[in-house]
């Protein structure tokens, strides 16, 4: 891809003369080819990535296919994913390694899957995988990444560092306004006039950016790094406004979804499922409209409960008796089926948007990650991971990858390489790996 940049000041000078000027359009993204799968200049539609995280995993022995490789059999706990089997990879036999550090229950497992490292204490400082990927593919969109939490948790696992944790949107209606509200520019609109207000906001940010020099004087290294994080975020925002000032490339599959009703967030499982469906639909439309390429869904899990039941999914994993005939805790199993259903809803939302001969799912990759391989014991062994989608042809799908105790970071490395992140190894200490699942990398 050729690069196209206009200097910040150069652009502003053009705008600040007051007249509404025609703003240069990046040539490469102009038009789609006839069948809508690629841009007219031959470049394919961009890849997209989603991190879909839900706590407490699945029941060991009930989610892994018996057969390894292609044409695997879908195990009972993931049965609901069967219609998408050819687009889903299942990774089993992967462990998280503690290297003598404590297992901070329900945190450490996530850290290994998403950050590739176990924090010595407290928050993990390594960036989460979605942010690393956003740096590679998300810098040319209005939103570098979007984070949502249907269960109402304000915090997310998406982070640039321990001091920069992305907050999650908990209201579908608010997310709708953020993406498709007044600032949305329909890529398929016939005409385009840059909004003078956006031009003015852009120059306001530019003035803030000019303060950096003065602010970082006589500041210690740690605080300077935090100020730099702020200015990195500021540049992201500036870039976002730059994009709003350009005529977007037409995207055939883009349409604005209707505004969802305001819903009360909550941890009652049917509420979570319902809110999640709304979020999944909005995210799919945002991707189809080129508004973002990276997202994180915090499906939650810990506090999920049935209406009228005093126990939560989490307390049940520790308290419910195992049914010896079934070989698992029945209500826990029921909740796990609901989580699988949630993942299915996400995949279905992406697959529901047609792009040329295929669907949006084909150019995306969604990674399911969790915190444990056996919630009852907070086990770090055999942590289940899934990916859905084909990353625009860079990933083969419909494969069960059965490992034998390799670090779980192998999945994160594979995913990053599929997304075009220039990285040959990932993770720290025993969780360090330079072995992607090359059999599924195209």
């Amino acid at each position: 891809m050729s690069s196209w940049t206009v200097g910040r000041r150069q652009m502003l000078r053009g705008m600040m003369n007051g007249a509404v000027v025609t703003v240069g359009l990046p040539f490469l993204d102009c038009f789609l080819n006839a069948n809508g799968t690629a841009l007219a200049n031959g470049a394919s539609l961009p890849v997209c990535f989603g991190s879909w995280v839900a706590g407490l995993g699945f029941n060991p022995g009930h989610w892994e296919p018996k057969v390894a490789g292609a044409n695997y059999d879908m195990a009972p706990e993931l049965e609901v994913l069967s219609p998408f089997k050819d687009r889903i990879n299942i990774y089993s036999g992967l462990n998280g390694y503690l290297d003598g550090k404590p297992n901070v229950v329900h945190q450490t497992g996530y850290q290994v899957c998403i950050n590739g490292a176990v924090a010595a204490g407290g928050g993990e400082n390594a960036p989460s995988i979605d942010q690393t990927i956003a740096d590679a593919i998300g810098t040319r969109t209005r939103f570098r990444s979007l984070e949502v939490s249907p269960a109402g948790s304000r915090s997310s696992h998406s982070r640039r560092s321990a001091s920069a944790v992305n907050p999650a949107e908990i209201s579908p209606a608010a997310l709708y306004t953020r993406i498709f509200g007044p600032d949305f520019r329909d890529p398929n609109a016939a005409s385009f006039t840059p909004d003078p207000r956006v031009m003015a906001r852009r120059s306001v940010l530019s003035a803030v950016d000019d303060h950096r020099q003065r602010l970082v004087q006589n500041v210690g290294a740690a605080d300077r790094a935090r100020l730099d994080e702020y200015f990195t975020a500021l540049r992201g925002l500036e870039q976002q406004l730059d994009l709003e000032l350009q005529k977007p490339a037409p995207l055939e599959a883009c349409s604005s979804p209707g505004a969802p009703q305001e819903e009360m967030p909550g941890t009652e499982i049917e509420t979570v499922i319902k809110n999640h469906r709304l979020f999944a639909g909005l995210l799919a439309h945002a991707l189809a409209c080129g508004q973002t390429r990276v997202f994180t869904v915090e499906f939650g899990g810990m506090a999920a409960h049935k209406a009228g039941d005093s126990a939560t999914f989490h307390t049940l994993t520790h308290e419910e008796g195992t049914d010896l005939n079934l070989g698992y805790q029945p209500t826990v199993h029921w909740f796990m089926l609901r989580v699988a259903e949630g993942f299915r809803d996400m995949v279905a939302a992406l697959d529901g948007i047609r792009e040329g001969d295929g669907t949006l799912l084909d150019r995306c990759l969604v990674m399911y990650a969790t915190d444990t391989g056996n919630a009852r014991y907070h086990s770090m062994d055999n942590i289940p991971l899934l990916t859905a989608g084909r990353a625009g042809g860079r990933m083969k799908s419909g494969v069960h990858l059965a490992a034998q105790g390799d670090p779980v970071t192998r999945v994160g490395l594979t995913v990053q390489q599929a997304m075009g992140v220039p990285v040959s190894g990932w993770g720290t200490e025993s969780n360090r790996t330079s072995k992607p699942f090359s059999e599924v990398l195209a």
Binding site: G152, R201, S203, V204, Q213, L234, A303, G308
Partner: protein
């Protein structure tokens, strides 16, 4: 003779020169602290500067808790891309309201010559007025010029004076100078070689501590005049601020942080089991405790320890329904619920101070059931400042936690069995016995005497003190020395906004003694902190980090 004079004068000259060189190369002010404004502080500043009718709408990045306090967690966070996008939206939302037709006449000190053209003089007046209140310091001349220039340019683009002014104001509200509190230190003239906080940084620290707000004009003026560097000047300001009704904002902010009321934002109860625990009741539960606290500690000037035993509180009809209290209410239909003072009868188990309020028993429970463990842990960690270890991995809870087990009908019975496991016993012995004393309160705060048909045994123990119900636990808390030393520790850490160091221990001991001597009165404790040297001290580590910072190369422009 002449020669000597010449030598002397040349020596003097070179000395002057050397001093000047040193003055130019040595940093005059260094940064020793950087904290992101909390959501509450942000809201308070906007309300103070622009009035309560300007709405702050958006999501704030979650503030992390460190050493028990959000006030400390904010000293290690930055702003993310998503977070800044939200600050940007909030900033422009606030700024648009400031200049809209409902507000412009009261909030702007002038009218533009033309509403469609730039007016530097009027914009300058506006920013000279609000700038220092937002940045907590006077604006440098070039900063003021910049605001005016940005407003002028924006007005040129959007062809509207007010919109242009709002855009420039929006830029201030998303700038790091506003979003971060920066503690600056300067060489201390009374102690050569040492540093002290600048007057303006002292003003900020004092104001956020006592009022949870940015310094007002009086305090800023005093700081600029150097008054906060003298004992008399400082006392004058401390006394003025303690006497102000705004002290209540500061006390509310502190207890909101210490009691972890930010968790209310994510509190979820099962409405099938607890239909009375409505969103209004949850909101009121938080307010009930803050009212109980400020009424007792400020209005009545009461003893902190009595917060655990008082039978006086405030209720709304919604809350009274949760607690099962018959409340006389003559609020007309459709009118907002009002707060009604309520006093529990002697021996009513609900009269156990703030421990028996929903803000404690409901906040520290599962969505559908009570939890002596969560409550006991909160009691140790939040109110006694003790650390309870996380539960170990690889523990099987199922053996004894099966709620359908006919042998163990009550939570107490299930937990007792759980404690028989040695790996669990260590911690649960520390936290369960006091949590069990609150078993008369269900997960929503509702009062109950039976669980699954079996009478509840609410006896318990705290550090050797035995009791049979919640008021007994309250009395044990009242008499527990850790409860008061915990308050001192938290309040001082909250005020300084940093983790404790070893150097703080002696000072805290002194504070704790004064606190006891004054009958555990909170305003006196706040006064002792606010007027102390320690509160404004800067550590060698802070100075070292800043002094080691490389000087950025000067830019051509």
């Amino acid at each position: 003779m002449t020669k000597i004079l010449w030598l002397l004068s040349s020596l003097a000259l070179s000395l002057v020169f050397a001093t000047r060189v040193q003055a130019e190369s040595a940093p005059r002010e260094v940064e020793v602290g950087l904290s992101r404004l909390t959501a509450e502080q942000y809201r308070q500043i906007i309300a103070d500067v622009f009035g309560p009718t300007v709405v702050v709408d958006g999501i704030f990045e979650p503030d992390p808790r460190k050493d028990g306090l959000l006030a400390i967690g904010t000293d290690s966070v930055s702003v993310t891309a998503t977070g800044l996008e939200q600050y940007d939206a909030m900033a422009h939302g606030i700024a648009s309201q400031v200049v809209d037709r409902d507000h412009r006449d009261t909030l702007l000190p002038c009218k533009p010559i033309s509403p469609a053209a730039a007016d530097d003089a009027c914009a300058g007046q506006f920013f000279a007025k609000v700038g220092p209140l937002l940045y907590r310091r006077p604006l440098a001349p070039d900063e003021l010029e910049e605001r005016v220039a940005v407003a002028r340019a924006a007005t040129g683009t959007v062809k509207d004076f007010y919109a242009g002014l709002a855009l420039s104001l929006g830029g201030m509200l998303e700038a790091p100078e506003f979003l971060f509190r920066r503690d600056m230190a300067e060489p201390d003239p009374d102690h050569p070689g040492q540093y002290r906080l600048t007057g303006l940084s002292k003003a900020s620290r004092l104001s956020f501590f006592l009022w949870n707000a940015a310094p007002d004009t009086i305090l800023l003026t005093a700081a600029e005049a150097g008054e906060l560097d003298t004992e008399t000047g400082l006392s004058r300001q401390v006394d003025r601020m303690l006497a102000s009704p705004r002290l209540e904002d500061g006390v509310r902010a502190f207890f909101t942080d210490m009691l972890q009321f930010d968790q209310f934002a994510e509190l979820s109860k099962d409405t099938t089991i607890y239909p009375r625990f409505t969103p209004i009741a949850a909101h009121d539960a938080r307010e009930q405790t803050l009212r109980t606290i400020t009424d007792h500690l400020l209005t009545r000037h009461g003893d902190y320890r009595d917060l655990f035993t008082t039978s006086k509180t405030f209720l709304t009809p919604s809350l009274a329904a949760v607690y099962g209290v018959p409340l006389p209410d003559d609020t007309p239909n459709g009118a907002a619920e009002s707060w009604i003072p309520h006093e529990y009868a002697p021996n009513d188990p609900r009269g156990a101070g703030i421990l028996a309020e929903a803000s404690f028993v409901a906040l520290h429970s599962h969505p559908g059931r009570s939890s002596p463990t969560l409550r006991g842990r909160a009691l140790r960690e939040v109110l006694l400042c003790q650390k309870v270890p996380d539960p170990p991995a690889n523990v099987d809870f199922t053996l004894v936690q099966d709620v359908n087990n006919p042998q163990y009908k009550t939570t107490r019975e299930r937990l007792t069995a759980h404690r028989s496991q040695p790996t669990c016993a260590g911690c649960h012995r520390l936290i369960d016995p006091m949590g069990l004393a609150l078993e008369n309160f269900d997960s929503s705060g509702g009062f109950r005497t039976r669980e699954n048909g079996v009478a509840i045994d609410a006896s318990g123990e705290l550090d050797g003190a035995k009791f049979s119900d919640a008021p007994g636990l309250g009395r044990a808390m009242h008499d527990n020395p850790s409860a008061t030393s915990c308050l001192v520790t938290r309040l001082y850490a909250y005020a300084t906004g940093r983790s404790r160091t070893k150097a703080d221990t002696d000072f805290e001991k002194g504070l704790a003694k004064d606190f006891a001597d004054n009958g555990y009165r909170l305003p006196e404790l706040m006064q002792a902190i606010a007027a102390s040297d320690n509160f404004y001290s800067v550590t060698g580590t802070q100075i070292g980090a800043a002094a080691a910072a490389p000087q950025p190369a000067r830019q051509a422009n």
